[in-house]
C-alpha cells in the first residue's frame, strides 16, 4: 500500500519530468530502481564526460505541499527509501509546512530526521502579503477600478477577521469588479486614461441619459450657469465633451489623491499611537470615507509632527521625496500619451491650463518639499547661532548691574524670545501649515468628486451578501418572520416571538419548538400546533383531524431535514433540539 502510493507519487513526478520519454509505466513497475535507471539513462548518457557536473546540477526536486495532511508513516518510509538511494540519486525534498518547523520534527522520529538535512525558509505572514498586494496593485492611480472606503474596509475586514487568505481577498475584489461592470454600459468609462476618449464616443444616448442621472452630477450641474445646463441636457455632443473633461479631472484627482495618501502615510509612519493607522491601506480607508483634514485625529497627527526633532523631520521629508520621485518616474511613460488628446481637442487645452491637481500638483509638491528640506537642513546651524547670540546678549544684560526684578524679566523674555526666534521651529511651523494646506487640497474624499460612481465601486451591501453569506441568519429570519420574504399581509406579527395560525407550517412548528427545552414531547408539540392552526375546534376534534397531523408531520420532517431536531431514544415520542 505504501509502496503503491509512493510509486504513484513517483509516477507523477516522472510524468512531469519525462514527458519526452512517453512510455507510461504501470503502477507495479514504479520502483526506485526504474527511477534510477531512468535518471541515469536520461542524464548520464547524454554526456558521459561531464557526468560529475550534471549530477551536481540536475537534482530531482520533489515538492510536498501541505505537509501536515500527509500520512506521516508514509512520509517516513518515503524518506528512508530515498535516503538509501541518495548516493546515486541527488534528491531534494521541499516540504510546505503550514504551522511550524516543529511539525516536521514531531512527525519524523530521530532516525528519519537524521537522514534529512533540513533548512528552513520562512515566508511572511499573509497580512504582509495582503498589504503588498493592495499597496502595489490596487492603491495606485494606474488601475481604473477603485474601491470606495467602505467597500475596501469590508474586504480587509473579511481578510483580517475571517480567513487571512490573500487568494480570497483577490477573489472578492474580482467579485466587486464583476459587480461593478455587470449590466451597465456606462461603466465602460471606467478605463485607462488613454482609452477614455473612445469610450466616451461609443456611448449611446441612453447611456448618456443614465450618466445624467448619477447622483454626483447634480452638484456639478448647480455650479453651471443656465445656458450650459440646458445644453448639458439637450446636446449630447456637448455633454460628451463635458463628461470627458470631468473624467480627465477625475483621473488627475485620483493621481494626486493616491499620492497624498502615500505621502501622508510616510509622514505619519513614525508618529506614536498611529492615530491614522500604520499601513497605507488604513490611511486610505480613512481618507476615502471622510474628509480627513477635518478629523481630530489628523489634526493631532499634524501636531505630533510639529513636535518632531530636526533630524527626524529631515528623515521623513527625504523619505517623502523619494516616494514622490519614484511616483513621477513611474508616470513619465504615460506623459506622451497625455499629450495626444491636446491635438484632437481644443477644449482640453483649457482643461490642462486650469487644472490644479494631477502631475503638476505632484511637481509643485516636490518643489515645496525640496525647499523645505533645504531650509530645514540650513536651519540647523542658524538656529543654534541665533540661540548662541541670544545667550550672548543675555550675558551682556547680566553684566549690567540692575535690580533683580529686571533680571528676572529679562530672563523670562529671553526664554520667550528664544522659542519664537529659533528658525528651525519657524520653518517647521510653516512646513506643517503647508502640509495641512496641501492635504486639504489633495485629500478630498472621492465621493465629493463629480462622476465618482463611474470609477469607484461602493455598492457593498449588495456584494457583501454574496461574498460573506449568512445562511443561518437567512434561515432564522425566514422561519421567525416569513413576511420578510413573502411580503404577504397575513403574516405580519406584532413581535418576533408571537405566533399565528396563518404562518406557514414550518415556521409555526419552528416557533413552537423554540419555546421548548432540550427535549420536546411530540404529542404536546402536535397539540400546540393544532391549537394554533385550528383555534375554533375543541380538543376532541383536533385529536381526530388527520390533515393537521399530516401537516405537522411534514413540518417536523422539514425541521429535521434542516437540522433543528433529531430523534431521541431517551424517552418515547420525544425529539431532541439541536440548537440552544
Amino acid at each position: 500500500m505504501v509502496w503503491q502510493l509512493i510509486g504513484n507519487d513517483l509516477k507523477n513526478d516522472e510524468e512531469c519530468d519525462v514527458l519526452s520519454t512517453k512510455h507510461k509505466l504501470k503502477k507495479s513497475q514504479c520502483t526506485m530502481k526504474t527511477l534510477k535507471t531512468w535518471y541515469h539513462s536520461k542524464y548520464t548518457n547524454e554526456s558521459t564526460n561531464k557526468k560529475k557536473k550534471l549530477i551536481s546540477t540536475k537534482t530531482l526536486v520533489i515538492v510536498i505541499p501541505d505537509f501536515e495532511s500527509f500520512n506521516c508513516h508514509l512520509l517516513q518510509d518515503f524518506v528512508m527509501i530515498i535516503s538509501s538511494y541518495i548516493s546515486s540519486l541527488p534528491i531534494v525534498l521541499v516540504f510546505g509546512v503550514a504551522t511550524s518547523v516543529s511539525a516536521l520534527h514531531k512527525s519524523f522520529p530521530y532516525e528519519v530526521s537524521s537522514k534529512l538535512l533540513i533548512k528552513v525558509f520562512h515566508s511572511h505572514s499573509s497580512a504582509v502579503y495582503m498589504n503588498q498586494v493592495l499597496e502595489d496593485i490596487f492603491l495606485t492611480h494606474t488601475v481604473p477600478f477603485h474601491l470606495s472606503g467602505k467597500a475596501f474596509e469590508l474586504l480587509t475586514d473579511v481578510f483580517l477577521f475571517y480567513d487571512f487568505s490573500v487568494k480570497g481577498l483577490v477573489q472578492s475584489i474580482k467579485y466587486c469588479m464583476m459587480d461593478h461592470y455587470y449590466g451597465d454600459n456606462t461603466k465602460a468609462l471606467c478605463c485607462n486614461r488613454e482609452d477614455l476618449e473612445e469610450a466616451v464616443l461609443n456611448l449611446s444616448p441612453n447611456d448618456l441619459e443614465s450618466i445624467r442621472q448619477l447622483k454626483s452630477f447634480r452638484p456639478y450641474l448647480e455650479k453651471q450657469d443656465c445656458r450650459t445646463k440646458i445644453s448639458l441636457f439637450e446636446d449630447d455632443q456637448y455633454f460628451r465633451d463635458a463628461l470627458y473633461k470631468e473624467l480627465m479631472k477625475l483621473h488627475d484627482y485620483l493621481y494626486s489623491f493616491y499620492l497624498c495618501v502615500k505621502l501622508l502615510s510616510t509622514l505619519i509612519k513614525d508618529i506614536p499611537n498611529n492615530l491614522l493607522g500604520k499601513t497605507v491601506r488604513e490611511v486610505y480607508t480613512k481618507c476615502a470615507t471622510e474628509c480627513i483634514t477635518d478629523t481630530p485625529s489628523f489634526k493631532e497627527c499634524m501636531q505630533l509632527l510639529s513636535f518632531q526633532s530636526q533630524i527626524k523631520i529631515v528623515d521623513t521629508i527625504t523619505g517623502a521625496l523619494k516616494l514622490l520621485n519614484s511616483h513621477l518616474q513611474s508616470v513619465s511613460p504615460i506623459k506622451p500619451l497625455q499629450a495626444t488628446p491636446k491635438k484632437n481637442n481644443n477644449n482640453t487645452d483649457k482643461v490642462f491650463a486650469h487644472r490644479e491637481l494631477g502631475e503638476s500638483f505632484a511637481k509643485t509638491v516636490r518643489v515645496h518639499l525640496m525647499t523645505f528640506l533645504r531650509q530645514l537642513e540650513n536651519a540647523n546651524t542658524e538656529a543654534s547661532i541665533s540661540t548662541a547670540m541670544d545667550t550672548d546678549s543675555n550675558d551682556n544684560v547680566e553684566n549690567v548691574p540692575g535690580s533683580r526684578y529686571k533680571l528676572k524679566e529679562k530672563l523670562l523674555k529671553a526664554t520667550r524670545v528664544e522659542k519664537i526666534q529659533s528658525e528651525f521651529e519657524m520653518i517647521r511651523c510653516r512646513f506643517i501649515s503647508y502640509l495641512e494646506e496641501m492635504f486639504a487640497k489633495g485629500l478630498q474624499p472621492p465621493h465629493t468628486q463629480t462622476f465618482h460612481e463611474i470609477m469607484f465601486f461602493s455598492d457593498i451591501s449588495n456584494v457583501k451578501k454574496h461574498i460573506v453569506g449568512a445562511p443561518r441568519g437567512a434561515l432564522h429570519t425566514a422561519l421567525s418572520d416569513p413576511a420578510h420574504y413573502l411580503q404577504c399581509s397575513c403574516c405580519r406579527l406584532p413581535s418576533p416571538e408571537s405566533v399565528a395560525g396563518t404562518l406557514p407550517d414550518v415556521c409555526l412548528a419552528y416557533k413552537l419548538h423554540r419555546e421548548c427545552g432540550k427535549h420536546i414531547n411530540l404529542y404536546d408539540w402536535l397539540q400546540a400546533f393544532a391549537a394554533v392552526v385550528k383555534p375554533g375546534e375543541n380538543d376532541e376534534q383536533r385529536h381526530h383531524d388527520p390533515i393537521i397531523q399530516s401537516r405537522f408531520t411534514r413540518a417536523v420532517a422539514e425541521l429535521q431535514f434542516l437540522g433543528f431536531i433529531k430523534s431521541s431514544k431517551r424517552k418515547t415520542d420525544h425529539v431532541m433540539r439541536l440548537t440552544w
Binding site: 477573489q171 427545552g517 411530540l522 422539514e558
Partner: protein, 553 residues
C-alpha cells in the same frame, strides 16, 4: 545587627536568583514540586513570553495593535442579531409552549368566541391529574417555606423570591409528582424534586436580569451548564399513542398545505429568483461557484435554471439528499456517461486529473449541479475534498444548494478557496417534498405507518393458509402481551394449532411456510435453553392490534 541585615540581604538575593528559574516567589513550595514540573514550566512558552517581549518590541507592538482592532464594515444594522439565533434560553418549561399557544390564540381574531374555551383546554389536560395530587396542601406549604429559607440563605440577596414566579411553580410541582405516577408521594420523595424546581426558578431569574443588563450578545458558558445540569427531562409523559387515529400517512404531495396568498407570493419569489439566472451564468463563467441557501426547496429552481440556460451544455445533476449516493457515483457518471470512458481509475485524485485533462482537451464546459451539497452522504471530508477539487477545475462550474443549519461547517479554508463560492439567498418556502421523502421522519417512524403498510403488502401476497398461520401468531402474541418477558410461541404449539385448523399437514410444510416470514423479517425465531424454537413477531403490539382490526374489518 549587621549580620542580621546581611542575612536578610543574602536571603533576598537568593530569592532574586531563584526567580528566573521558578515561577513563583515562594521558593520553598516550588522546590517540593517534582523536577518534571519545573522542566515543563521552563519549556512552556507561556513562561518564556515575558522575556521574549522584552527582546522583540516590534512583535509586541504588532500584537498590541491587532488585539483591540475591531471589524467595522463587517456588521451592519440589518444583520440578524446573534442573540436571536444563538442565545441560550433560560430553562424551558412546558408552560412556555402553552403560553405561546395561548398568546397566539388571544391574538388571532377568530378566537374571541372561543377564548373562554382556551383556558379550559389547559385545565382539561390536567384536571384528571390534579385530583390525583398526592401530598396534602399543608405539608407542601411547610416544605415550601423551608426551601425558600434555604434558598434565601444560599443565594444571599441574589435571589428575589417574587411571588408571581411561584404561582406556576406550584402547578408544575403537582404535575411533576403526578408524572412520577407514584401514588405514595411521601415527603422525602417530593423534597428533592421541589428543590430542583426552585433552583430552576432562580436560574430563570438570573437570566432575566442578565438580559436586561447586557444588550450585546456575549456567550456565557455558565448558561450552557445550567441548561444541561439536570439529566431529567422535564417534559410531560404524553405519547403519540394518545392520538385516536394513528394513520399518519407517509409524505404524499397532497398533504402540502399552503394558503392561496402564500402560494401567490411564493410564485412571485420564484419569479424574482429566475431573474438572477443571467447573473449566475456570468459568475459561473468567471470561475465562481454558486451556492444557494435559504429555506424552501431549491430543486425546482435549479431545474429551471438548467432547462433555461444550460440546455446546450453538458450537465450533471446530483441529488445530495439521496441516501445511497456516493462520491464515486458522481465521478463515475462524469467519467463514463459524459466523457465516454470505459474505465474509471481507482484513485480519486487521478479521476479528477483525468476529468480536468479531458475537459480542457475538448474545451467542454461541464456544469455540476448539486442539490444539497450538505446531504448526508456528502458530509464526509473525502467527498467534500473531491467536490472542491472538481469545482476548482477551470472547465467545471458548480452550482450547489445547502439547507442544513450547520452546513457551512463542512468547509475549511482550503476547501472554501477551492470552491470559491458566491452566496445567494433564495428563500422560497417551497416545501421539501422530494428531499424529505428519503428522510427517516420522526413522526412516521414513530407511528409505524411504514411498518404497517409493509406488513399489509406482504400479508396480501400470502396464500390463505399462510395468512392463517400468521394470524395465529399475532393472536397468540396479543393474548400474551401482558407478560413482561414474552418468549414467543413455541414451534410445537404453533404446529398443533395449525393442524387443528387444517392449515398444514406436516412439520416440514409449516417450516416451509415460515421461511417466507423469516425472509421478510416478519417473524423472528429464537432458540431457548431447552432447545425448543420460539416464534415471535418483532413489531409493536399496538400496531399488531391495529393491523388485525384492519384485516378483520
Amino acid at each position: 545587627m549587621s549580620s542580621e541585615l546581611k542575612g536578610k540581604v543574602s536571603d533576598s538575593e537568593t530569592e532574586t536568583v531563584d526567580l528566573p528559574d521558578t515561577p513563583s516567589r515562594r521558593t520553598g513550595r516550588t522546590r517540593q514540586k517534582p523536577k518534571k514540573y519545573n522542566d515543563f514550566f521552563e519549556l512552556s512558552p507561556s513562561k518564556r513570553k515575558p522575556r521574549r517581549v522584552s527582546t522583540s518590541s516590534e512583535e509586541d507592538e504588532i500584537i498590541d495593535d491587532s488585539c483591540p482592532q475591531k471589524p467595522r464594515a463587517l456588521f451592519s444594522d440589518d444583520d440578524v442579531e446573534g442573540q436571536d439565533i444563538f442565545k441560550f434560553k433560560g430553562r424551558h418549561t412546558k408552560h412556555d409552549l402553552q403560553n405561546a399557544v395561548r398568546s397566539a390564540m388571544m391574538n388571532s381574531p377568530k378566537v374571541i368566541l372561543t377564548r373562554l374555551k382556551t383556558p379550559k383546554k389547559v385545565i382539561n389536560l390536567h384536571s384528571p391529574i390534579r385530583k390525583a395530587a398526592g401530598t396534602p396542601r399543608h405539608v407542601r406549604e411547610v416544605i415550601k417555606k423551608r426551601i425558600i429559607q434555604e434558598v434565601d440563605s444560599d443565594s444571599s440577596g441574589d435571589f428575589s423570591g417574587s411571588s408571581s414566579d411561584f404561582v406556576p411553580d406550584e402547578s408544575e410541582n403537582e404535575e411533576q409528582s403526578d408524572s412520577s405516577s407514584s401514588s405514595s408521594t411521601s415527603v422525602e420523595d417530593e423534597k428533592p424534586q421541589r428543590k430542583d424546581s426552585v433552583k430552576t426558578q432562580i436560574t430563570r431569574n438570573r437570566n432575566n436580569k442578565m438580559k436586561i443588563k447586557d444588550s450585546e450578545y456575549i456567550v456565557k458558558p455558565d448558561n450552557y451548564f445550567m441548561m444541561n445540569s439536570s439529566k431529567k427531562i422535564a417534559t410531560s409523559d404524553h405519547t403519540l399513542a394518545r392520538l385516536k387515529n394513528m394513520n399518519i400517512q407517509d409524505n404524499s404531495p397532497d398533504t402540502v398545505h399552503i394558503s392561496t396568498e402564500h402560494r401567490k407570493k411564493i410564485a412571485e419569489l420564484n419569479y424574482n429568483h429566475r431573474q438572477l439566472f443571467d447573473r449566475w451564468l456570468y459568475e459561473l463563467s468567471e470561475n465562481f461557484s454558486i451556492i444557494l441557501y435559504g429555506i424552501g426547496s431549491k430543486r425546482t429552481l435549479l431545474q429551471q435554471f438548467q432547462t433555461e440556460k444550460l440546455n446546450k451544455f453538458p450537465c450533471i445533476m446530483v441529488n445530495g439528499f439521496f441516501p445511497s449516493l456516493t462520491i464515486k457515483d458522481i465521478l463515475e457518471s462524469i467519467v463514463v456517461d459524459l466523457l465516454g470512458n470505459t474505465t474509471v481509475p481507482s484513485n480519486i485524485g487521478s479521476v479528477v486529473k483525468l476529468i480536468d485533462s479531458q475537459l480542457s482537451e475538448n474545451s467542454v464546459d461541464l456544469f455540476l449541479i448539486v442539490n444539497n451539497i450538505d446531504g448526508p452522504m456528502l458530509r464526509n471530508s473525502k467527498s467534500q475534498v473531491t467536490l472542491a477539487s472538481l469545482s476548482q477545475i477551470k472547465n467545471v462550474h458548480t452550482i450547489a444548494t445547502i439547507d442544513h443549519i450547520n452546513a457551512p461547517l463542512l468547509w475549511d479554508y482550503s476547501k472554501l478557496s477551492k470552491y470559491n463560492f458566491s452566496w445567494w439567498d433564495v428563500t422560497s418556502f417551497v416545501p421539501y417534498t422530494e428531499e424529505t421523502s428519503f428522510e427517516n421522519s420522526i413522526m412516521t417512524h414513530k407511528s409505524g405507518a411504514l411498518q404497517l403498510s409493509s406488513l399489509r403488502s406482504v400479508y396480501q401476497s400470502l396464500t390463505s393458509n399462510s395468512k392463517g398461520i400468521f394470524t395465529i401468531l399475532i393472536e397468540h402474541q396479543l393474548a400474551n402481551q401482558k407478560q413482561a418477558h414474552y418468549q414467543g410461541l413455541p414451534f410445537k404449539d404453533l404446529y398443533s394449532k395449525c393442524r387443528e385448523q387444517f392449515l398444514v399437514s406436516s412439520d416440514l410444510a409449516l417450516r416451509a411456510q415460515l421461511t417466507e416470514f423469516l425472509d421478510h423479517k416478519l417473524v423472528k425465531m429464537k432458540r431457548t435453553l431447552d432447545g425448543s424454537e420460539n416464534l415471535m413477531i418483532p413489531i409493536n403490539n399496538a400496531l399488531l392490534q391495529q393491523f388485525l382490526e384492519q384485516q378483520t374489518s
